[in-house]
Amino acid sequence: MIEAMIAALANMSDPAVIAAICLGTLLGVIFGVIPGLGSVIAMTLIMPFTFGWDPIVAMYVFAGIIGTASTGGAVPAILLNTPGTIANVCTTFDGFPMTRRGEGGRAIGLAATASGLGTLFSIVVLAALLPVAKLLILWFTPPDFFWMVILGLIAVTFASRQNMVKGLAAGGVGILLSLIGFSSVFGVRRYTLGSEYLWDGIEIVPLVIGFFALSELMVYTSRGGTIAQDAKVNLGGMKQILRGALEVFQHKAILFRGSIIGTVIGAIPGAGGAVANFLSYSTAKQASKNPELFGTGHPAGVVASESANDAKDGGILLPTLTFGIPGNGEMVILMAAFILHGIQPGRDLLVNRLDIVWAIILGVIGAQILTTIVILAGGAWLAKISLVPVKYIAPFVAILSLIGVYAVRSNIWDVLLAIFAALVGFFMRKAGFPLITLIIGFVLGHLAEEKFTQSLQISQGDYSIFFTRPVSIILLIAIVSMLGWSLYRSANPARANSESN
């Protein structure tokens, strides 16, 4: 293992490898910045071009895309309240208010640095756990997955503490919407009204683009002016970027917790960056002495969100590299790339192709460092977008968003869905319903059902399977504790805050 790492490090001075990392970084950032496109499309598009390349060089390209897309996605999240990827949704909560006050550069500095550190943490964890990863994956069973997913759903109550009923209602609607479509678990189509379009369920990208990008576009375009509240505000240039970058270290606990959450959640197939993002943000808010500051442009909110969504990169590589189990769309494409280049994912990779494993690990690290530097260097210029009148920005956001939506599966009805979701999202926001809880419910709802059903099939109908495994018991205790603390805090806010202090 160590020899392979040293050999891979030496390999990084190869011009082809450097070029591959740069290409991966460029693609990852561009596709991350444009709402709706994302890393999956970037990897899918570049894959045929890599046929015939040295497999190691090809892997550096893919690793670069994986490591940088959600960092790139933070930029529109901060500047335009439009998450570039689903994993950047929570970054809008505090990043955009900072932009409105003329502190977009500071937010970019925070995001780029937190992303970089989150990725580095998770990659170190990945490298350390590789020798025992197979045991960990086998140890975690479907009932444990089920409680993990429930934990994610419970976090919805934290995010909506000031508005609990609306948050829970939105989360519930999200879960119900996730049930639409063909269920392979049951072998039936449900709630589709006979629609062929809904056979695969509601596609998440049009939903997220509609809810966040397009409804936000309706808000600021109708309002006019600039995104920064004061068009004459001094953005502070590079000084503000560096201030943000260094400020991350004032939130070490949040950074560390977000990185852990991202890594752990990333390792759960199906959970993904959106859940990591959300859980980290919610727990940071829950644990904060000043939770009321979250959502107003609090730097801690950006740190919590961005550290987690990038830390998921290391987590998600764990089941993929060790077992060939893809945790999300990125990993599915990565595995396809393995096979295209004659590499067998899973056992063979760890035994015979450690050079590939280290290429991916070092590729993610290299690309993330490069992205952080590039975004920090370009952040001052990017922040100027907040001073451009929205009437010039709006059509480009609309065009890129709808192209992104269509590119997912080449279905024109997805574009219509995004337009409809924009209207629904606008009204929900006006009415005070948190959209993020609907999205989390949507992402986790069908996963919870799948793991619940799977667990009962394993136990052949015996419900005790949910309460007998050590990991399940630990998770159950965590869930009950979190619920209890949340209710206690709601009922006794003053007392709870003084106890925190």
Partner: protein, 334 residues
């Protein structure tokens, strides 16, 4: 002077109109079409997302056919409905040979029979078979089960790790357990390497799948063992694994449960166009680079003529119809 100019203009306009009319009429009638085919890009629909086995095989073959036919053969991913969207597109595409599609059979036949959407696979203009994947049954290496008799005598329900309560693996599991008299229960939600993790964890006792790619690698490793192959002849990569025919169940063999990647044009495509397409397709499948590329993806090239492909489809439709009620009954009983 003005009169001369006007006359010239009228003559010119008349010539333009005449040429345009002939061109449009000819294009509509295919007068030029047949001889000049193909005169523009051919679209190859793949009903799955990019990166999968059939998608990559399609791209490899399409590239070779582009060179052979002298026109672009462009792969278009129309993911949706488990391949149904592409099947519907090819079913309603104009019968001019400019749209073809690869289909995952008998999976899509089963899906259509369970939830009909008006696609008649027997009506498509079949071009040939690109790839085939042999189906097999496997278990963890330390499993106490080795033969059908042991499974039948197990007493408790044997759990199968499957992707879901429909689809190819559920069909094969339903038929296998019915024929071999094995009491069983499905455990769903397992795809690819998750199936192997499930077997090692003890979530289930058995799994089914195409013996290709990562599944084949797993079965060849010390962690797993294949119990049988759904063929009449031994499978070269697994020479020690018996066939269902050898085990006394020939009705499960003959490759009728293999995964097939079949390519078709829309119904009613003229015979001469189908012939051109199938010949180009067949030449592509004989190219060493194409074969190597497809093998890398864990699949085997297995050529069939259009008539043989059509016959295979008819056979698959028959098998699916034969066991459809069994599959329905088994899925509804869960």
């Amino acid at each position: 002077m003005l009169l001369v100019k006007a006359k010239n203009f009228v003559r010119l306009a008349a010539v333009v109109v005449l040429i345009t009319s002939i061109s449009v009429f000819s294009a509509g009638c295919g007068i030029f079409g047949g001889d000049d085919y193909p005169s523009s890009d051919i679209e190859w629909y793949v009903g799955f997302s990019a990166g999968g086995g059939f998608d990559t095989a399609s791209r490899i073959i399409a590239e070779e056919m582009s060179t052979d036919l002298g026109t672009n053969v462009v792969v278009r991913n129309l993911a949706g409905g488990g391949g149904r969207r592409a099947a519907q597109e090819i079913h309603k595409a104009p019968a001019d040979g400019y749209a073809i599609s690869i289909m995952n059979m008998p999976n899509q036949i089963l899906a259509e029979k369970i939830d009909p959407q008006g696609v008649n696979f027997n009506n498509l203009s079949w071009i040939g078979r690109a790839v085939i994947q042999t189906y097999g049954l496997y278990t963890a290496a330390d499993s106490k089960f080795n033969t059908p008799a042991e499974l039948a005598a197990a007493g408790d329900d044997i759990r199968f790790c499957l992707s879901g309560l429909s689809g190819h693996s559920f069909l094969v599991a339903s038929v296998t357990t019915e024929v071999m008299k094995i009491a069983w229960n499905p455990v769903t939600g397992y795809k690819g390497a998750e199936t192997q993790a499930g077997l090692l964890r003890g979530d289930c006792e058995l799994a089914l799948g195409p013996m290709a790619g990562s599944t084949l690698s797993a079965v060849q490793s010390p962690d797993f063992k294949a119990l049988w192959i759904y063929e009449d002849d031994r499978f070269a990569p697994l020479p020690d694994v018996p066939t269902v025919k050898e085990l006394g169940f020939p009705q499960l063999g003959g490759g009728k449960f293999a995964n097939n990647g079949l390519v078709a044009a829309s119904p009613g495509t003229p015979d001469d166009i189908v012939k051109k397409l199938s010949e180009s397709f067949d030449r592509a499948l004989q190219d060493p680079d194409v074969i190597a590329g497809i093998n890398k993806k864990g699949m085997a090239v297995s050529r069939l003529s259009p008539a043989e492909t059509s016959s295979v489809v008819d056979g698959m439709s028959g098998i699916v119809s034969e066991y459809l009620e069994l599959v329905r009954a088994k899925s509804q009983s869960r």
